[in-house]
């Protein structure tokens, strides 16, 4: 028998009992759609995480004070703080592979202004800071180099601070008092959401570094130095450069340990990507189970079908069909059924993804190879679960099959 004839017969037989065929294929339709949609959601989440990490400033390099070592006794991280604005100045003047550098002076306290008061952290930074972190302004402006040199009492508020202090009015031009020092609000940051470690990036006030050092934190030491590399591929070169500048700045002898630590975001990025990848695997395996259940559904219906069509098989055998003809017929029916279920499932998943992307906050992204895998898997399930019923049908003796009532 020619392949075309077999295929035609299989399709005809499937169409003869539409309702049963549809119900059989439904298992595969749902299974394939579930796999594709779940993986699409997982991939979408991964994409979002990657974008978010990129927006953290993928070129961000943070230099933090390292451990101190006094007489062989080593303290913990940051036990001995020797970072000053001189270090920042030296980096700014000597480093060639960087786009910007900013000190980070941490302070905190009760802010009074607008409708009430609020406790938050104040970061003293340079004019490069927004660019280093790839943050944006929602309104107003950022302070300039002149504001820093002049130790101007100006500040930029995070959106959460604005919500708490100025819920109904424009904060620009207003005055807030940070630990009783009056600051003029000149800008508001765009909402950023959480950091990778879960603290809010919006509950923050930025002010010129020198102002914060002088008026709020006191002393001359800064918490860390934030640098952005010229580009992401120059990241490690920039780190090496920074290392030598810092060693020089701190007058470390050869063989002496670094008293600082240089870190970039790649480990955070890796962890986050890994998390979403695990999520994708989890979702895909749950959906895969439903695909297998769909396959068992096909086997079930095909087995019932073999019993129900015993007479048909008998008739076919009596007019000269071989056992292999019957085997091929039933196997083809199972495969056609599961493949068409696969096609409908893929179309359905495209529809669902479209709805997800347009009507929810979630991002779903269908990779072409996932569609191919789901499709091949559906066909394989048709062969695997269709084989046993087909074998059973082919093994029938013509006279027994004909007598079957």
């Amino acid at each position: 028998m020619k392949a075309r004839v077999i295929l035609k017969a299989a399709i005809k037989s499937i169409l003869k009992s539409r309702m049963r065929s549809l119900l059989t294929a439904l298992g595969i339709i749902i299974g394939v759609a579930a796999v594709v949609v779940m993986v699409a959601i997982g991939d979408g989440a991964q994409l979002t995480v990657e974008e978010q990490i990129a927006s953290l400033g993928s070129n961000l390099i943070i230099i933090t004070p390292g451990t101190s070592s006094t007489g062989g006794v080593r303290g913990g991280m940051g036990t001995f703080n020797r970072f000053t604005l001189d270090d920042v100045e030296k980096i700014k003047n000597e480093a060639t592979l960087i786009k910007g550098v900013s000190p980070l002076v941490r302070s905190g306290g009760q802010i009074i202004g607008g409708t009430g008061n609020w406790f938050t952290q104040i970061q003293g930074v340079s004019e490069d800071y927004l660019e280093i972190r790839s943050w944006g302004l929602q309104s107003g402006e950022f302070f300039t180099e002149r504001d820093i040199t002049a130790k101007a009492k100006v500040c930029v508020l995070g959106s959460e601070v604005v919500e708490n202090l100025f819920p109904d009015e424009d904060p620009i031009g207003q005055q807030v008092r940070i630990r009783n020092v009056p600051f003029k609000v000149i800008g508001v940051l765009k909402s950023k959401g959480q950091t990778a470690v879960g603290e809010s990036n919006d509950d923050i006030i930025l002010a010129p570094s020198k102002t914060v050092l002088d008026r709020l934190s006191g002393g001359r030491f800064i918490s860390s130095i934030q640098v952005s590399a010229a580009s992401s591929d120059k990241n490690s070169a920039a780190q090496a450069e920074l290392k030598s500048i810092m060693r020089e700045s701190h007058r470390l002898e050869e063989g002496e340990d670094d008293d600082f630590t240089i870190k970039d975001q790649s480990d955070i990025a890796e962890a986050a990507t890994e998390t979403s990848r695990v999520l994708t695997y989890l979702l895909a395996s749950v959906a895969g189970v439903s695909l297998i259940v769909g396959g068992i559904g096909i086997m079930n219906i095909m087995l019932v079908s073999v019993t129900e069509r015993t007479r048909e098989i008998g008739i076919r055998l009596s007019v000269g069909a071989r056992a292999s003809d019957i085997l091929v017929q039933f196997l083809t029916e199972a495969v056609v059924l599961s493949l068409s279920g696969g096609i409908i499932g893929v179309l359905f998943s495209i529809l669902v993804t479209y709805l997800i992307n347009n009507y929810t906050d979630q991002v779903a992204y269908i990779k072409p190879q996932i569609v191919a895998i789901a499709f091949i898997f559906a066909g394989a399930i048709g062969i695997f679960f269709g084989f046993y019923p087909a074998k059973k049908a082919a093994a029938l003796n013509p006279i027994d099959a004909l007598r079957y009532e």
């Binding site: 017969a9 003869k16 076919r316 007019v319 071989r322 013509p398 004909l402």
Partner: protein, 251 residues
């Protein structure tokens, strides 16, 4: 002398029901030549249906040999058996055995689908010709449930004819039909036989057996009588007689 189509040598069949062996057919020797029209008669359990199934290669004998059109079928493997069924035998069943939800034409085409010799090129044309021979051209796109019993049996006969078999085997072909329709079917058989087609049928009604040219009687798995009918009944005349009677009756 006509060509020999069927020859059985000590053909036996024993069914096993659990531990018990039930002999259904005991050493039957039988020869049927080309263009014969044979009726096999017997009570139920006489072995006539078993003999029919063996002749139709639907079942395998326990013992003995069966030559069909010169081929020793006992030496064949399963797939060759299927080919024999496909090319040399046209089987007509009591229960018609048509594929439901499949048109008459497609039912008739079915044996051609399994014909590996591909001696017939145009399946469609061939199936229409077969339906013409049984006088059903106007109903060929109907499915069995839209056809009367007699029409269904004609479709089944067309299906038996379509592969140009050496022999047509009919197992109680009119068992499910009323008497007028039965006689119509025998008309068709006589007509086909007149065209030279060999027919072997099983029936348990002596009246119907008289339409054949030869009667073989079976009892307890053995052939007990084998006789030629000097003057067989003409089904066409019989049909006219019945129809006239019923008209009279209606008046």
């Amino acid at each position: 002398m006509n060509k020999e189509i069927i020859r059985t040598v000590e053909l036996s069949k024993i069914y096993k029901v659990g531990e018990i062996e039930v002999p259904a057919l005991k050493s039957v020797n039988l020869t049927i030549n080309e263009s014969e029209f044979v009726a096999i008669m017997g009570a139920s359990g006489s072995g006539k249906s078993t003999l029919m199934n063996l002749l139709g290669c639907l079942d395998e004998p326990t013992d003995g040999e069966y030559f069909l059109d010169g081929v020793n079928t006992s030496k064949l493997i399963k797939n060759e058996y299927a080919s024999i069924r496909n090319q040399k035998i046209g089987f007509v069943f009591q229960g018609f055995n048509l594929l439901s939800r499949t048109t008459a034409l497609e039912n008739v085409e079915l044996p051609l689908m399994y014909d590996r010799s591909e001696r017939i090129k145009d399946h469609h044309k061939r199936a229409i010709e077969a339906l013409e021979r049984v006088g059903l051209t106007d109903r060929m796109h109907h499915i069995p449930s839209q056809l009367s019993g007699g029409q269904q049996q004609r479709v089944a006969i067309a299906r038996a004819l379509v592969n140009n078999p050496s022999i047509i085997l009919a197992d109680e072909p009119t068992g499910n039909l009323d008497s007028v329709t039965s006689v119509e079917v025998f008309c068709l058989f006589q007509q086909l036989n007149a065209e030279g087609i060999t027919i072997v049928m099983v029936t348990h009604e002596r009246d119907f057996a008289m339409f054949a040219k030869r009667i073989i009687e079976m009892r307890d798995g053995k052939k007990v009588k084998d006789m030629m009918i000097k003057e067989s009944m003409n089904a066409q005349h019989e049909l006219e007689r019945i129809l006239n009677e019923s008209i009279v009756y209606e008046d």
